[in-house]
């Protein structure tokens, strides 16, 4: 039996109090396995982002448990959660997700700096992932000198550079045009197939879902369906 990278059991998340309680997630059981290329879909308010936040150790469930690579998030303090995110999880956000005062390469290296990787090793690995995402030779550019698609590629490279257990992407194509979306999704799918990197992508973009091997549908905070293709 393969140990799942992410294991959610009875996960619930509610916001507010008293009569104004909103249940964003209800009793979610979910396992994400190594090598999965999964999409989380569902209408707005269905709980996609909330679930990604739980899996990404960005938030804590109101009930239930979340384990990443066998480590339970319960009882971890803020620094512990930061450490977990730094070493186990890569993120690709919708937009505004690069540090504007750092070049593309520096943005990628920054995660490795936090991990205290030696400078030479950092630079080498950053150049490698830049090449993997097709941005070879563009490492010196600041985000403002890159297109939206190129910025997202840098974000993917940054998510990959520390070789995390899982990469979480929340609406990564929402701000991209059609061609760039196809290009970016193709890139993530290729990295999944070639390097075995696990992706969980929150989206309602059919072009993204078309590439996924596993499709998880959320509705009113519950998993409505979980299918593999």
């Amino acid at each position: 039996m393969i140990n799942p990278i992410v294991r959610c059991r009875g996960v619930g998340k509610s916001f507010g109090s008293g009569e104004l309680v909103v249940h964003a997630l209800r009793d979610v059981d979910l396992d994400i396995l190594a090598g999965d290329f999964a999409t989380l879909a569902g209408p707005s308010g269905s709980g996609k982002t909330t679930l990604l936040n739980m899996i990404g150790a960005l938030d804590r469930p109101t009930s239930g448990t979340v384990e990443i690579d066998g480590q339970s998030l319960a009882g971890m303090d803020k620094s512990g959660l930061s450490e977990l995110r730094l070493h186990k999880i890569g993120f690709v956000f919708q937009a505004y997700n690069l540090v504007p005062v750092l070049s593309a390469q520096e943005n990628i290296e920054f995660v490795l700096q936090l991990q205290k990787v030696a400078p030479d090793e950092r630079a080498r690995r950053a150049r490698e992932v830049l090449a993997e995402v097709g941005l070879e030779g563009m490492g010196h550019r600041r985000p403002s000198a890159l297109s939206g698609g190129q910025q997202q590629r840098v974000a993917v490279a940054r998510a990959l550079v520390s070789r995390p257990s899982i990469v979480l992407a929340d609406e990564p194509t929402a701000n991209l045009d059609s061609a760039t979306t196809t290009e970016l999704v193709g890139l993530m799918a290729r990295l999944n197939q070639e390097l075995g990197i696990t992706f969980v992508i929150g989206t309602h973009d059919p072009r993204v879902m078309d590439h996924s091997q596993r499709h998880i549908e959320l509705l009113d905070g519950r998993i409505a369906s979980d299918t593999r293709s």
């Binding site: 930061s82 730094l86 993120f91 540090v99 504007p100 005062v101 750092l102």
Partner: protein, 408 residues
């Protein structure tokens, strides 16, 4: 250390994201510190000039009298010239100069007026080293020696007496027998000092003054100066030990006004520092809060990527450290250049009348006060960083999710 290596370059670049705001903060910090450092030097110079002017004139750094003379400065309370261990103590290295004086309260009479006066018998040779009066002769000459029985008057007194160089005045004072002595003295010189001195002090030779009131060699006071003021307290103690039956006092006990002014000058700078720093702190906190609010989303991103709250705090605090540190360096440089540019002195002679009232010198020489330069600069830097910790703490406690919801 590794944290600093990672965060310092990022902090430095963040500083220049909003150049205008950074430059404004730099100006606030540097001008604020400049004002504190320059004002400190200016006040020191003012205090020193005023002190020098007053002490050099008559008071010296300290005086020695017979016991009770300060309460009742009469001819019955005089002392003998120093000898033995007392003389040795006066000749010791830390005392720059000393002079014996006989001060006789009396009246001066001209053809037109009779006015009260303090006749001071002096040894001109010693006074030339110790007092600035000999340099302040504006008409005629100074006394030749202790036997010189002519008189030096201040401008103001001479004007009020309607007399001058080449004329004669009569001085009257109580003699040793308790009777009134009177004698005619040639006016040989007019000196220019502050009005209070000019009005009440007339100078003649020490021996001439002693003869005038029938004394042998008794004196009323010994005035002394010391080159290093830090040694004053120990010198006074040593002299008191050498002459236990005499009254040895430092200048602070002889001129309370000057002592109060000196103390005020020394402490006023701290009030100014507090005012300047309060204004500066508002500027720094405001700037850093703006910088944090503007980058809320980015702090959320950094936290999501794995940055710990402590590292966010260090990042923002480093930005303040650089910003304020740079401002402090500029402020020190500005203050240094200003003081250098004014090394030849600030001439306040245009305000001479007003300065005289405050016993101030007319030319001020601002000087580097290395200790206060360092202390005030570090104080501003450290306090600046401390107040900037509040915005840093706000950034550090942001929840990554809440922060990333904000789009700026």
């Amino acid at each position: 250390m590794q944290n600093l290596k990672t965060l310092a370059p990022l902090a430095w670049r963040n500083l220049w994201r909003n150049t205008r705001r950074t430059v404004i903060t730099l100006i606030v910090v540097s001008v604020g510190l400049w004002s504190v450092l320059f004002f400190n030097s200016f006040l020191n110079a003012w205090g020193q000039a005023g002190k020098d002017a007053v002490l050099d004139l008559l008071i010296g750094q300290g005086q020695i009298h017979a016991q009770g003379y300060m309460d009742d400065p009469s001819i019955e309370r005089l002392m003998r010239p120093p000898e033995g261990t007392f003389l040795e103590a006066l000749e010791a290295g830390e005392i720059g100069a000393w002079s014996m004086r006989l001060q006789l309260p009396g009246v001066v009479v001209s053809e037109y007026k009779t006015l009260p006066v303090n006749m001071v018998g002096v040894d001109p040779a010693a006074e030339r080293i110790l007092s600035s009066i000999p340099e302040k002769i504006v008409k005629g000459r100074y006394l030749l020696d202790a036997h010189d029985s002519s008189v030096i008057l201040g401008i103001s007194l001479a004007e009020r007496l309607k007399t001058g160089v080449g004329r004669r005045v009569i001085l009257m004072s109580q003699n040793v027998a308790g009777a009134l002595s009177e004698q005619s003295f040639d006016v040989v010189g007019i000196y220019d000092a502050d009005k209070a001195t000019e009005d009440y002090y007339a100078f003649t030779g020490l021996v001439a003054a002693q003869k005038f009131v029938g004394l042998d060699d008794e004196i009323a006071q010994i005035t002394f100066t010391i080159p290093e003021e830090e040694a004053l307290e120990s010198t006074v103690a040593r002299l008191a030990l050498a002459a236990p039956d005499l009254d040895v006092r430092p200048w602070k006990q002889l001129s309370l006004f000057l002592a109060t002014t000196d103390s005020f000058m020394q402490n006023f700078i701290y009030i100014w520092l507090a005012v300047v720093f309060s204004l500066m702190a508002i500027g720094i906190v405001n700037t850093q809060l703006m910088a944090v609010f503007e980058r809320t989303h980015e702090f959320g991103l950094l936290r999501a990527l794995g940055m710990k709250p402590r590292q966010v705090l260090v990042l923002v605090a480093l930005e303040s450290t650089f910003l304020i540190g740079f401002g402090v360096l500029l402020g020190v440089a500005l203050a240094g250049m200003t003081i250098w540019a004014l090394a030849d002195g600030i001439d306040l002679s245009a305000f001479a009348a007003g300065l005289e009232m405050f016993q101030g010198g007319q030319v001020l020489y601002p000087q580097y006060d290395a200790q206060r330069f360092v202390v005030f600069s570090l104080l501003i830097w450290v306090l600046g960083i401390l107040v900037a910790l509040w915005p840093a703490w706000r950034a550090a406690k942001l929840s990554p999710i809440e922060a990333m919801r904000q789009v700026t």
